[in-house]
Each structure stands twice: as C-alpha cells, then as structure tokens.
C-alpha cells in the first residue's frame, strides 16, 4: 500500500530528476518552444518538494493536491497549470484515504490525465505531454515499471509528430523531428514514480 510518505518521496524524486535533466529539457524546448521548460519545472518541483516536506500532508490525496497548487503558483509557464491540474485532480480523485493501492492510483491518475487534456484541449498525437501520460496511465493498471516504460516510449514517439498545441504549433512542419519537451518531462515524473516504488519494495 502507498501512504502519504510514499507520495512525498515521489515528489522529491521528481524534483531530483527534473533538477538533473533541466538543461536537457531546456535544450529540447529551445528547438520548438521558448527555452524555459527546464528552468520553469526546476523552480516548480523544487518548491513542491519543499512544501510537501514542510507541511507533511497526512494523506496521499492531500500531498498531490498541495503539490498541484504549488506548481500552478510557481512555474510561470503553461507547464505549471498543466502539471498542477494533473496532480491536483489525481489527488482529489484519491480522496481522503490514508493509503491507496496501485490500482486506485492508476484510476485517479487517469482522471488527472483526462483533466489535463480538457484544460489544454489536446489529444493523443498532438505532440504534448499527453503523448507520454496517456500510455503511462493505461500501463499503470499493470505495473509501475510498465508505466515508466510506456511514458518514455510515448515521449520518444513524439519526434516525428507535428505539434498542434502550444507555442510549438506556430512552427508547423518545422516542429517535426524534435522530441516534445513536455512529453519528456512527463516521462521523468512517471519514471520517478516507478523508482520510488522500486526503492520502497512496492509492487513491480
């Protein structure tokens, strides 16, 4: 079972991964975006890791809800409200439970991903974070590792796509041939989840 501490460690692991990959994310974003994805997410997840440590919310739902709100208020770019909505909606779907199992998390995460699609008006294949999140949400029903692998494969599969949402969409065909930075950071988030589970000896 996954308790509030597990979710705090997931947020901390995400902050570490984003920190490590910030330059890479910004490099991807300088090809088709406005070159701030790495620094924006770094600022956001550093703040998230700090606040969930300090406030120590008691339930998984409360950890993710707080994390989501923090992202919306600190990121400054579109990834703030998008990731903020993902975590907040997932947290709300987890409700008040003190512990949740992977199945329940998978269902809640799928709700969070659907909310991201609704907020940004994007679908699979638009070359956005959803291209990593949608396959991850589906695979999370089977295993953490499977979700991480699906997210990374989804991010890689954005390379040949033409962007249809966000600033990259202004580039039209020139967006083809570059991996989407949002899908790449989404894969980091799911990879951090799988690592946290593996470190805690949870599931597979």
């Amino acid at each position: 079972m996954l308790d509030a501490d597990f979710f705090r460690r997931w947020m901390a692991a995400t902050a570490t991964a984003v920190d490590r990959e910030a330059d890479h994310l910004t490099e991807l974003d300088s090809a088709i975006g406005d070159a701030d994805h790495g620094s924006n997410l770094q600022r956001g997840f550093t703040a998230v890791a700090a606040v969930v440590e300090k406030d120590a919310p008691a339930t998984p739902g409360a950890v993710l809800t707080l994390a989501g709100r923090q992202l919306i208020s600190t990121v400054g770019g579109a990834s703030g409200p998008l990731y903020g909505t993902l975590l907040r909606r997932t947290g709300k779907a987890l409700g008040e439970a003190a512990e949740v199992d992977r199945d329940r998390l998978a269902r809640a995460f799928a709700e969070g991903v659907a909310a991201v699609g609704q907020l940004g008006g994007a679908q699979a294949g638009d070359k956005t974070m959803l291209d990593a999140l949608l396959p991850a949400a589906e695979a999370l029903g089977s295993s953490f590792r499977g979700a991480a692998d699906a997210a990374r494969a989804g991010a890689g599969a954005t390379v040949p796509l033409q962007a249809r949402k966000g600033r990259a969409s202004y580039l039209g065909e020139r967006s083809i041939g570059h991996q989407d930075p949002g899908a790449t950071s989404a894969a980091l988030l799911v990879e951090a989840l799988a690592e946290t589970a593996a470190d805690g000896g949870v599931d597979a």
Binding site: D36, N40, R69, I72, S73, G76, G77, A78, S79, G80, P81, L82, G84, T85, R88, L119, G120, G166, R167
Partner: protein
C-alpha cells in the same frame, strides 16, 4: 448607477508592460465618468515574461467590488493558469469569469461597459463582441 459596485477588470499578459499599457489605454478611452476598477497582472513577480497565479489573485482581489470580475488574457499559460485557478474554486473572487475576447479591443470594451455600470454579463458580452469587428 456608475458610482459603486462596478464590475472589476483584470488584464493578464505574459508581459508586465503590455498588461500595464493596455490597462492605461482602456482607462483612457473609458474616461469621462467614474472609471471601473482595472488591474494589470503581467509577467512574473521578478519582472520576467510568464504568468503568475500570485499576481493574478492579487489583481482580482484588488478590483473586486462584489459585482464580479472579468479576466482578459493573452496567450497559452495565461489562459491555462486562469482556468486552473477558476477550477480550484477559492483562488479568485466570487463571480470571476474568464472572458473570451481579443486582449486589447476586449479590454477597452470591458472597461467602457463596466464603467457605465454594466453587469458582469454585459461586460463579458461587450468584450467578446470585439471579435466580431473585422479590420479588412
């Protein structure tokens, strides 16, 4: 009826100077009576380009007179941040609406309408109608 309880208008741009200038333009064109409260929420708190939920929340609170707040936005993260704040439920004053309108033209229409005592529905309609004015 234009002396109190006017609808407030918040202008959210990625750029501080853009938000401030559009606010000034709208106030200037609405002048003649009591101008409705207008606040700019542009850029990041450190002056950089981007969208700040904190600045938006503060701006909305500062123009709230209890008659509703119309929020006009420019691009991408400005749109998404306001939508995400509205979804939260308690981060913006009651009866705050994200208005679908062109930024500059909509701001002028919104401030003129709010200044003349229009309610939130009238302000929203006037701002949105600015999309219908063709320039060629």
């Amino acid at each position: 009826m234009s002396d109190e309880r006017q609808v407030g208008v918040v202008l959210v741009s990625h750029s501080g100077p853009v938000a401030e200038s559009v606010a000034e333009l709208a106030r200037g064109l609405a002048a003649g009576g009591v101008t409705a409260p207008v606040a700019a929420a542009g850029g990041l708190p450190n002056g950089g380009l981007g969208t700040s939920a904190e600045l938006i929340g503060r701006a909305a609170a500062s123009v709230d007179r209890g008659a509703g707040v119309a929020v006009l936005v420019d691009l991408g993260s400005a749109v998404l941040t306001v939508k995400a704040m509205l979804a939260e439920g308690d981060e913006l004053p009651e009866n705050t609406r994200l208005v679908d309108a062109p930024f500059v033209e909509g701001a002028v229409a919104a401030v003129v309408t709010a200044s003349s005592g229009g309610d939130i529905g009238a302000v929203e309609a006037a701002a949105s109608e600015a999309y219908g004015y063709r320039k060629t």
